[in-house]
């Protein structure tokens, strides 16, 4: 039932506004709205009941184990939410003067410092609103760097074929063409192919390490050298930072620029699709180009004073990327999370995320599943290929994924990375207990059994969810994107 279907003209949540008509209006009559607005007409109880009911139709971290590879679905501390929701922060206008913004600015400044520390970068700008916008900022800086150097022939960005879709899409947003670099059977970038691909047209290489194959790129130093020698820069996609938090710094690996997904590594909740925050960190070469605003600190009469740095302070900046300053509230949460963890806690993130993934990989291999990279250490995630099951049992990765829902587990990421056939990318994160991991492995084992004995059951899964498998073709063909009374 849609909210519109319980709507009834004349009904309204009257406590939520003071009934009011225009007085002495200066609005031109010709410009007045004549049609109804068309929002639902419902009571407060109806709204509360309706959305409480809808919420129950979602899986979530608070409800279920959610081993969605590349997405780092870990516990979102409620304390971080409480910190960000302090009344003084919620009511602060984005354009409030600096003298009544010292609380907020100091949190942002501190966060910049922590992020520099964990990434090994020289400067951090917090402004990008998600990973993809961080990527944009990063590649735009690469471009600004080459442009400033008059190096206008560099038109190409290299991207391993295992990469996330945002990488090539971003390169195009920055006016580059994309050249894919193959990945070896072991999940590493093919260095020979890379050597063959670089050249004077190379603006840079975008990659993540650990890669989306769930393995650490062992030749990263050599790769960095190859790209740098060719005059290109190295972009680090920080979506997988959770794997190495406190263990390795992208700056030390030779990366010139990176983004972080705070909504992943820094545990800010994903909100059913966002919001996120995708700060960018830069090394020496790109420092002059960081997006604005960033927060500076100076000492005035012995007191710390925080202030906005803008184009005046950073003349070569690629500029601002949002109306104000990114997803401020998410940054406050990440600050809170960083404080709760502290330096020791951050070390443990990478450690236990890795422990959990390797444990699961080992156990799943023992249970008869095929690891895509059996000779490699898993990092914080690992890839299982269901191609054998698909071939022999006619039960594919998606079927397993859907059947997991019936067992009360969210499905892993399916069919990504693209280069592994029938891929399941599994990321348990450090906040899940051994019991939870064992439960998942047990479920997978049972589903495998089902796939052998009653494959139809698995293929028609899920059966316990609010709806069964949906007709995606119909959705796309008979586009229905907004409700009409006739529906």
């Amino acid at each position: 039932m849609l909210i519109y279907e319980i709507s009834s003209e004349g009904r309204s949540a009257t406590a939520q506004y003071e009934a009011c008509e225009l007085e002495n209006s200066e609005l031109p009559t010709a410009q007045l709205r004549v049609s109804p607005i068309g929002l639902p007409a419902v009571s407060e109880l109806q709204v509360v009941r309706h959305y409480t009911g809808l919420s129950k139709k979602n899986f979530s971290i608070d409800g279920e184990f959610y081993p969605l590879g590349s997405c780092t679905m870990k516990y979102n501390p409620r304390g971080a939410l409480a910190g960000a929701h302090m009344p003084g922060f919620l009511a602060r206008h984005p354009l409030a003067p600096e003298n009544v913004s010292q609380g907020y600015l100091s949190c942002l400044y501190d966060l910049q410092e922590y992020l520099k520390d964990v990434t090994g970068m020289r400067a951090v700008s917090l402004t990008p609103m998600a990973g993809a916008q961080g990527e944009f900022a990063g590649v735009a800086m690469i471009r600004a760097y080459h442009d400033k150097a008059g190096d206008s022939e560099r038109t190409e960005i290299l991207i391993p074929n295992a990469a996330h879709g945002t990488n090539p899409a971003t390169a195009v947003m920055c006016g580059y063409t994309v050249r894919e670099v193959p990945v070896t059977k072991e999940g590493d970038v093919d260095v020979d192919a890379l050597k063959a691909a670089v050249g004077p047209q190379t603006a840079g290489l975008m990659m993540t390490n650990p890669s989306t194959c769930g393995v650490f790129e062992r030749k990263i130093q050599e790769i960095a050298e190859i790209v740098h020698d060719a005059g290109g820069l190295l972009y680090y996609d920080g979506a997988n930072l959770n794997a190495i938090l406190g263990k390795v710094k992208p700056g030390d690996m030779g990366f010139d620029v990176m983004h972080m997904n705070l909504h992943k590594t820094f545990a800010t909740p994903h909100g059913g699709g966002g919001p996120g925050a995708g700060p960018v960190g830069v090394g020496k070469r790109l420092e002059p180009f960081v997006p604005t605003p960033i927060v500076g600190k100076r000492s005035t009469n012995g007191e710390d004073e925080y202030y906005w740095m803008s184009d005046k302070d950073i003349p070569d900046t690629i500029g601002n990327l949002s109306a104000f300053m990114g997803n401020a509230g998410i940054l406050l949460r990440a600050f809170a999370y960083a404080r709760l963890l502290g330096n020791q806690g951050m070390h443990r993130v990478g450690e236990y995320a890795t422990l959990n993934a390797n444990y699961m990989a080992t156990k799943m291999a023992a249970a008869g599943f095929k690891l895509a990279y059996p000779n490699r250490r898993a990092t914080h995630e690992f890839v299982v290929s269901m191609s054998q099951e698909a071939k022999e049992l006619n039960v594919n990765a998606m079927d397993f994924a859907k059947r997991l829902l019936d067992y009360g587990y969210h499905a892993p990421t399916t069919y990504f990375p693209l280069l592994v056939p029938e891929a399941l990318l599994i990321e348990p994160t450090e906040t899940e207990s051994k019991e939870e991991l064992d439960g998942f492995i047990e479920a997978m084992t049972q589903i495998l059994q089902e796939a052998k004995e009653t494959p139809e059951l698995v293929r028609s899964a899920p059966i316990t969810t609010p709806v069964k498998r949906l007709d995606d073709v119909k959705a796309a063909r008979e586009l229905n994107l907004a409700w009409k009374a006739a529906d």
Binding site: Y4, S12, A13, Q16, E18, N24, S25, E26, L27, R33, I37, L39, V47, H50, T52, S55, G63, N76, L81, A82, G88, F89, A91, H93, L95, V100, S101, Y104, K116, D117, G131, A132, R143, V172, V178, I220, K247, G271, G273, P275, L321, S322, A323, A328, A336, A338, R339, L340, G342, N343, G345, M346, V349, E351, H410, V467, K468, A475, L481, A482
Partner: protein, 456 residues
Amino acid sequence: MPFVPHTSQDEELMLDAIGVESIEDLFDEIPPALRAGVLANTPAGISEQALLRLMSDRSKKDEVDLCFIGAGAYQHHIPSAVWDLVTRGEFMTAYTPYQAEASQGTLQLIYEFQTMITRLTAMEVANASVYDGASALAEAILMAVRANRKSKSRNVLVPGNLHPSYLSTCRNILHNQKINLQVIPYDQQSGCIKQEDLQAFEGEDFAALVIQYPNFFGGLEMADELTTWAHSQGQLVIGVVNPTALALLAPPGTWGDTGADIVVGEGQPLGIPVASGGPYLGFMCCKQAIVRQMPGRIIGKTLDLDGKVGFALTLQAREQHIRRAKATSNICTNQGLLVTAATIYMSLIGDQGLRSIASQSHNGTVQLIGKALEIKGITRRFTSPVFHEVVLELPCRASQVLQQMCTQGILGGYDLGQMDAALENCILVNVTETKTPQDIEDFITSLRAAVEVAAC
């Protein structure tokens, strides 16, 4: 170890199962030279108790009594139910609804959001949000360039009274794709774009015209005329609108001859606290004919195996995770939770509520203007009618006056000198339904005193 549930026994069992001695061994593929030491610039962890005390102390530094700044972020009453529901774990800690069967809550809600936004704007289709109003406009311009079959131009007309941060955001995002924004100067008297000003651009090839409504100065553009003109020139029309204003004012789908083609805006006024500028949400609508050029997630209604109604992500072939380099945009994570807030807000407020809120905001603004104009030396900078925001010209530097007011806990408005030195005596003042007659009185008293102190 905050948030890590492993007991030492668990850890041992797990290491045994893997067949390694220690967690350290799991990092053996990383070249030793790369291994990081302690994080020297990150402090030790603190308890939640200490954290909340710290953040409470810091947040108190930022508290003021009254805020009359708008300029793209507006303080409205937010029904308590909104965030009580939004912060339910099932909404807040879910991922993007890739597994539709396990995400019907979020999916149906977004479908409802799309419906509400199309109705509010009188447009045909909407997406599930992009980052914010400014980036939504950048995406809309890209979209218009792709979608306009009549034009091959990468030039787009934008008004000089566009929100300055929107303009710079668009520039910064678009210039790498060689898209050129041609600024139309606004009329110095009305503060609006006049049709005469457009004549200079007639006959030239532009992919689209952007109209901000109300414009950055709070003024009401002649949206009908501008739309009809742009269409006559083969341009698409992109509306940038304030959703509260649309409760009273003609929605973009009805502008001019055939309505705007693409509409974007900042969804913050719909139940989202001003909160330092984010997270907000950029909404985005268009005509059905060009829906395949719209970036971002879109939810469609469909049926399940049993013929039961359900909702799913649709037209994913436009998106980066499928289309990669050929995608309409690189956007992935959007502002889902804020969509949740806006949807619940719109449900609670309804037509009557939104109309009342808009009326109260307008009435308060008119009231404030009237009283402010009684102060010696204060005039209204522009003649155009406004909705809930107005430019006042002071007899002295705005920055001085605002500083003075701030010492009394009142943020008196946005200093337009920051946008344009020619406006250094001007403030942009916003009034919403959150301001009582007494608040307006307090504002006036403070403004009067500040103007006097500034001794001009």
